[in-house]
Amino acid sequence: MCSMVNERTTVSGGGKGPQGWFPVDYVSVGYDHPVFVAREHAITIDFANESAGPGARVAVELTPESARELIATLQTALDKGTVLKLP
């Protein structure tokens, strides 16, 4: 936990892990040492379920540049949905 940069928020949704779909009730976002991405630090995102144990997790690691692209893409999709008045 060398950078200790980590943010967590409560969410409502679902994720698909090795055992299938499960409810996601929090997202943890770090900027720390990745497991897979070949660089010293990366954005780590875990979509997880508090009560279902450590295995209830969908993990993603992104380069910081890719994380910014993801933010922009999420915003674009949300904006288009708003225009279409999607429920």
Binding site: C2, R8, Y26, S28, V35, E40, D46, P54, G55, R57
Partner: protein, 253 residues
């Protein structure tokens, strides 16, 4: 210990449970040379990725070199699963509290010294967050730690703004309490700790009159011992391990 082709003594590995901080039962991995001993001991402080395969292999490596070695699971209270999944839970919780880690390590020292094969001399080794925890524990446990190997401990030097309930003290402020000789291994391409912090860390140890030996490696990033990661640097890692095998017998024999 030099490896020999005519060696006849093998190794024993096992999982054990021991009382950690507050008497909580935590699990640990132990590897030791076969036979009655007495063997010097090592306590290994695992890194941020958790109680993982690299640390199990490091535990056996220390045993191969003659040390009865224990690696406690510092994430034992956060559930069980793959090391990566458990480490993710701990990460989402802001890490484990420093006091809890020190208590768990103290439990590991007591457990190891309580074994019939222990010589009573026990050192401490940690990398990454484990390097930081190792230095912190060595300062707080004093003479319970006979030697310390700190590998690229990040956040040994912390700004006041970075202190948290889990990490309420910057470890370097406890430097005066350190009694164990310390071997420090660092990469000059590391950003946590960056070279200027390594310089400060070394200067503070020198100013306090500590027994220290620091080695810095050019071309080495954070975690350059980890053969399973892009950070691995073969020549620097081999030399770093050799420094460990030279350092420990001087203080644990």
């Amino acid at each position: 210990m030099v490896m020999r082709t005519d060696a006849t003594v093998g190794m024993t590995c096992e999982y054990v449970t021991l009382p950690g901080h507050n008497g909580d039962q935590i699990n640990a991995y132990v590897a030791r040379p076969a036979g009655p001993g007495p063997f010097p001991g090592m306590v290994l402080v695992h890194h941020m990725p958790g109680w993982d395969e690299w640390y199990f292999e490091a535990t056996r490596r220390f045993a191969q070199h003659g040390y009865a070695t224990i690696c406690p699971n510092l994430y034992a209270r956060s559930g069980h699963g793959t090391p990566e999944d458990v480490a993710a839970v701990v990460r989402s919780q802001g890490g484990v509290p420093d006091a809890q880690v020190v208590g768990d390590l103290q439990g590991a020292f007591k457990w190891l010294r309580g074994q019939s094969y222990s010589s009573g001399k026990v050192g401490l080794f940690g990398t990454c967050s484990g390097g930081r925890h190792g230095f912190l524990a060595a300062c707080q446990l004093g003479t319970e730690v006979d030697a310390l190997v700190e590998c690229w401990g990040g956040r040994v030097i912390m700004a006041d703004a970075d202190l948290t309930p889990n990490q309420p003290v910057s470890p370097n402020t406890l430097t005066a309490q350190l009694t164990a000789p310390i071997l420090g291994i660092f990469g000059n391409d590391d950003t946590s700790p960056p070279p200027p912090q390594v310089d400060q860390h070394e200067a503070e140890l020198k100013a306090a009159g500590k027994n220290l030996e620091f080695h810095r490696y050019d071309g080495a990033p954070h975690g350059f011992f980890y053969y399973d990661r892009a950070a691995y640097r073969q020549a620097q890692a081999v030399d770093g391990w050799s420094k460990i095998w030279e350092f420990l017998p001087k203080h644990l024999s």
